[in-house]
């Protein structure tokens, strides 16, 4: 809290230090790279959203009247691939993590700034490959690329999509590698592991998954592409190969990938809830270590996607039990957030509304995950809309709510401008209502037996599908609103003070927007994380500031 007044003349910061397209495309500043990612993933979010819109429009009526079955297969496939690999996986780590982790640990930049820029370029190359795939016909295998359909039968652009996702994986690996080295080696004096913000802890756990999981999907896609191009027989039962091997390899990454999406969101929520309850987080070390536990357990549950695929019943039992086990660290987090709220001085600003939304929706998503890890229930609801609703509660209700909450929380720091609070609260409400209207009916649809991935359905399912499509329209409005008022605020918003929320954490001790090297001098940390009791009683955080 160096100063609370807003200066009249704009100080030099990372945004106005240099101008011109070259100063952005060749930057090694982690904050500028974060903004490059922000623009890129927003683009892909709207592409993925466009496909979602087509899905919901087709399902408005029982008959398959908007698109043909083959087209519908492509639409849901590309919705999944774009949203998972080009939006959700990079979302919070590449934007907020990139921007905040060096500042939160008290460093001038990530450990490898040029590798950070390289990861963005790799992402862009992957994005161009994906766009090329979509524009030249698309792919219809489902985002899961199941063999032997993908390798021997599909007549669509499987190789192109596989290569695009293969390339995007390297971007993800390099981001994770950069984070781990930065967190280990770049922490400021006094920034011990037990003083790290929980946002950093959750990104540490995320990075472990990115580093160890992503190479496995990479090699799996190499095998799929080789098998499809040359008919080697590795995954083709007619030639002695085993399709289940593909599923094992695929889910070994793609289940932990869910935790790549949700863990950063949990980190965001762990920052927001203490700030707007004006309390220290309850059980810091449990919240921190539960992130690591989720990353570790997350690697041991993959075959719960394969209960009906023909794995042995004993393997299924083990994976079922392990899937239950992953609920424990997740529940630890939810209980600790709730305990943090207890007797807190709660403020209902927009970031907090998103955090509330996250906790509620993640809880529903997590609990329905327990239904699915129960062998008997999974037989009934496998490949139905119950599964769709479950993972959208985690990925959209969880990951995306956290992303939006984080964007609101740190927007004053990122842009130096305040967003309009009234509109933001309204948008949070619209997103929450729209989300539930979209996806709650899908739980019922799935329980009643509506299978996923069909473009038509029996007429008795129509009411619930209409509700879902209506909700999707509301949700679309909710997503457009922040984009409009964020852009608006960049020009017309009030200048943001250094610490608009009176929040703890090194990022709030520096100016908004930060200078290129973040800190005028090497900061020295002498306080514990989330010391809201000290902040509110007037005890200042002692930061060494030049001058």
């Amino acid at each position: 809290m160096a100063t609370a007044t807003v200066p009249q003349i704009e100080r030099e910061n990372y945004l106005n230090k240099e101008y011109g397209i070259g100063s952005w495309l060749l930057t090694t500043d982690h904050k500028r790279i974060a903004l490059l990612y922000l623009i890129s993933i927003t683009f892909f979010f709207f592409i993925g959203g466009f496909y979602a819109l087509l899905i919901r429009l087709e399902l408005l009526t029982p008959a398959g009247d908007l698109v043909q079955a083959d087209t519908y297969n492509k639409i849901f496939t590309m919705h999944g691939q774009v949203m998972v690999f080009f939006f959700l996986i990079p979302s919070i780590p590449a934007v907020l993590g990139n921007f905040l982790i060096p500042i939160m640990v008290g460093a001038k930049d990530l450990a490898f700034p040029r590798i950070n820029l390289l990861s963005w370029y790799i992402y862009i190359v992957a994005g161009i490959l994906m766009m090329h795939c979509m524009l030249t016909g698309g792919v219809d295998t489902g985002w899961t690329f199941y063999t032997p359909f993908s390798t021997a039968f599909s007549n669509t652009k499987v190789i192109e999509a596989g290569l695009a996702i293969f390339v995007s994986g390297f971007s993800s690996i390099l981001t994770g590698l950069n984070f781990v080295v930065t967190i280990h080696r770049m922490r400021a004096p006094g920034m011990t592991w037990s003083r790290l913000p929980l946002f950093v802890w959750s990104h540490y756990a995320t990075s472990i998954i990115q580093i160890l999981g992503t190479p496995v999907i990479a090699i799996t896609l190499v095998l799929v592409v080789a098998e499809r191009a040359l008919h080697l027989g590795i995954f083709d039962p007619r030639l002695g190969g085993d399709p289940l091997l593909f599923q094992h390899l695929f889910w070994f990454y793609s289940h932990p990938a869910v935790y790549i999406m949700i863990l950063p969101s949990m980190g965001v929520v762990s920052e927001i809830i203490p700030c707007f309850s004006r309390k220290r987080i309850f059980g810091y070390s449990f919240v921190a270590l539960s992130s690591i536990a989720i990353a570790v357990f997350g690697f041991l549950v993959w075959a719960h996607h394969m209960f009906v695929a023909g794995i042995s019943v004993y393997a299924a039992l083990v994976f079922s039990i392990l899937s239950y086990a992953v609920a424990v660290p997740s529940a630890v987090k939810v209980f600790n957030w709730t305990a943090t709220l207890y007797k807190g001085s709660i403020h209902y600003d927009a970031p907090m509304l998103y955090a509330f939304g996250f906790v509620g929706l993640f809880t529903i998503g997590g609990l329905t995950g327990l239904f699915l890890s129960a062998l008997g229930i999974d037989m009934h609801v496998h490949d139905t809309y119950f599964v769709i609703a479950h993972f959208h509660y985690i990925m959209v209700g969880g990951a995306l709510m956290g992303y939006l909450g984080g964007m609101h929380f740190w927007w004053p720091k990122i842009s130096g401008k305040l967003y309009p609070e009234g509109w933001a609260r309204l948008a949070a409400l619209v997103v929450f209502l729209g989300f539930n209207l979209t996806f709650f009916p899908q739980f019922i649809l799935g329980y009643l037996g509506m299978p996923r991935r069909y473009h038509q359905y029996p007429p008795e399912f129509q009411v619930l599908n209409v509700l879902s499509t209506a909700g999707a329209s509301v949700l679309a409005v909710g997503y457009l609103m922040p984009m409009i008022y964020f852009l608006w605020s960049m020009r017309y918003g009030k200048p943001a003070p250094n610490n608009p929320w009176n929040a703890a954490g090194l990022e709030w001790t520096i100016q908004s927007p930060p200078t290129t090297f973040n800190f005028p001098e090497q900061p020295v940390v002498t306080w514990e994380a989330y010391n809201y009791d000290e902040i509110d009683t007037g005890h200042k955080q002692e930061v060494q500031v030049a001058g």
Binding site: K108, I173, R185, V216, V222, L230, L239, G240, G241, L245
Partner: protein, 238 residues
């Protein structure tokens, strides 16, 4: 692993600001530690990358052991053994190059870098000859693949299943091919290291690129140390 800490400890209390120190690091030691830690993590991802292939290989080897043994018997164990020796020697020369940098012995450093690259090229040359043999024998998976009437070793009168042998050769080419690709990347890295060494960038205080380039090279060697017995030596014991 050549993690030579002895030479670096002097640099910490040198007040001379090293030109190689990047702006966002406080000390040369922090920079060096970050670089080598980053490389170790990258090697972790490489272990998982090859790990997926090893997993697939081990499953099929267990299922189709006799067919895999027959297919393995058709590849040239002498060539593989020579290549193993070549790579082990190249790991030694990498370490000697780093030693040269630590001794400020430019001739030793550059000579050993050149020798390392020579070993690398020899490996790729021998690998190329092996691939050519497989191509001539129609053992490359695909339309012209042919593995009929090949006896299973130690089971006279039993012939290998050609489909299963094709899986062996598919994995053989993907595993050794990816390994060879890593060798090519390694040669690229070493060309760059050679240029840096030629320009006199490496000193006893600063030769981090040599160290992390060396780590990468050792890793690629170690992958081969596993590939050789798995692919070449199935059921060779009599």
């Amino acid at each position: 692993m050549p993690d030579s800490t002895a030479a670096v400890s002097t640099s910490a209390h040198d007040d001379v600001h090293s030109p190689a120190l990047l702006h966002h690091f406080a000390t040369p030691e922090q920079q060096r530690n970050s670089a080598s830690f980053g490389m170790w993590i990258f090697l972790g991802t490489e272990v998982m990358f090859f790990g997926g292939l090893f997993c697939a290989y081990l499953i099929y080897r267990r299922w189709y052991f006799a067919d895999f043994a027959a297919a393995s018997a058709s590849i040239d164990v002498k060539m593989g053994a020579i290549n193993t020796a070549v790579l082990i020697c190249s790991s030694l020369t990498v370490v000697l190059a780093i030693w040269g940098a630590e001794l400020r012995n430019r001739a030793l450093m550059i000579g050993m870098l050149l020798l390392t690259m020579l070993f690398g090229l020899t490996f790729l040359g021998i690998k190329g000859i092996e691939y050519k043999q497989k191509f001539d024998e129609h053992h490359v998976p695909g339309a012209s693949f042919n593995f009929e009437h090949e006896e299973v070793p130690s089971q006279p009168g039993h012939y290998a299943n050609a489909y299963h042998a094709q899986i062996f050769f598919a994995l053989y080419f993907i595993m050794t091919g990816l390994h060879a690709l890593h060798m090519v990347v390694g040669l690229g890295i070493f060309t760059w290291l050679l240029i840096m060494a030629w320009k006199g960038r490496f000193t006893p205080e600063y030769h981090t690129p040599l160290e992390i380039g060396g780590l990468y090279w050792h890793f690629v060697d170690i992958v081969w140390i596993y590939l050789f017995p798995l692919l070449y030596l199935i059921d060779r014991h009599k």
